[in-house]
Symmetry: C2
Subunit: 150 residues, 2 copies
DNA sequence: TTTAATGTTATATTAATTACAAATGAATAA
DNA sequence: TTATTCATTTGTAATTAATATAACATTAAA
């Protein structure tokens, strides 16, 4: 496997090394894929993409690398799709939108009042996920174009 | 199976009948269970509970009934747990909290500004789910009691 | 270079969910 | 009432995401 991982940020590599994480080619490939493809991919999307350049990689490695990156606070895992997890290179909490037409998951900017709440109703809040569902702007455009031409 | 489903609301039965849904004993058992046990149960919790009184019921029936009730807008499905779905007798959108200690899912009251937004960033919003994670008030109490006595 | 520790791979397993065909049961028409 | 039709339920198999595990490979340290 080639070692050309210039796309992985020096800062992230520093942080991981400092925590004693060994930066293997497989792990770097996962990190690089997430950095370049910010479309919130699933495990098998990541796996098949890396596989094309690195046929020997195993799904188990992708799973374990994502697990590790999540525990290190470098990425976040989403469960916006009912059937499988999606991964976001950006670990900061933010809202996500899933289009029911094209299936795209995208970030949305929302000024959310509970984002920084430490407690709610007496419960200690450690993490917040907000998932929005509907039809994305692209698909809305296509819908209205189809209507016009009919 | 006995037909003693007084706990299922007349209004709901009316709405379903009006839509041509046949109110079989199995379906009424699922509805009744959800109404009485509002702890956001999973499919197998519903299945095993009903099974005790009605041994012949099949998981497939529970799945299909929940699917039907969701499509009819009578209940909502949550994906706050990573591995399996949870069901809420209340179809109105509201926030949910999952305790990482005891695993309980509970409703939380939050005055949410995106609840009634029809669009966000050009996307049409049809549904919103907000999941909060942390330690519930009960488990916090137990934690502090354990600390005091040590 | 040898040894120890860690990471990777392949495979098997688990568990939720879906698919489907056969059996059952309810509603309707004769 | 009985026969027919159609939807529902059941049991089973298939699918699929995710986890567990053991053998193998690689890296780091002695």
């Amino acid at each position: 496997m080639n070692n050309n991982y210039r796309k992985v940020s020096k800062e992230m590599m520093e942080r991981l090394k400092k925590k004693g994480v060994r930066l293997t080619p497989q792990r770097l490939a996962v990190i690089e894929f997430l950095k370049v493809h910010k479309g919130h991919p699933s495990v098998d999307e990541i796996y098949y993409a890396i596989r094309r350049k690195y046929p020997s990689i195993s799904p188990a490695t992708v799973y374990s690398t994502l697990q590790m990156l999540k525990e290190m606070g470098e990425i976040q895992e989403l469960h916006i799709r009912a059937d499988k997890a999606s991964f976001d290179y950006n670990p900061q909490p933010h809202h996500h939108f899933l289009c029911r037409i094209c299936g795209t998951i995208m970030d949305v900017e929302v000024d959310c009042p509970i984002r920084n709440r430490k407690t709610i109703g007496g419960h200690k809040v450690e993490k917040v996920k907000a998932y929005l569902f509907g039809v994305c702007s692209e698909c809305l455009k296509q819908e209205s174009e189809a209507k016009e031409s009919s």
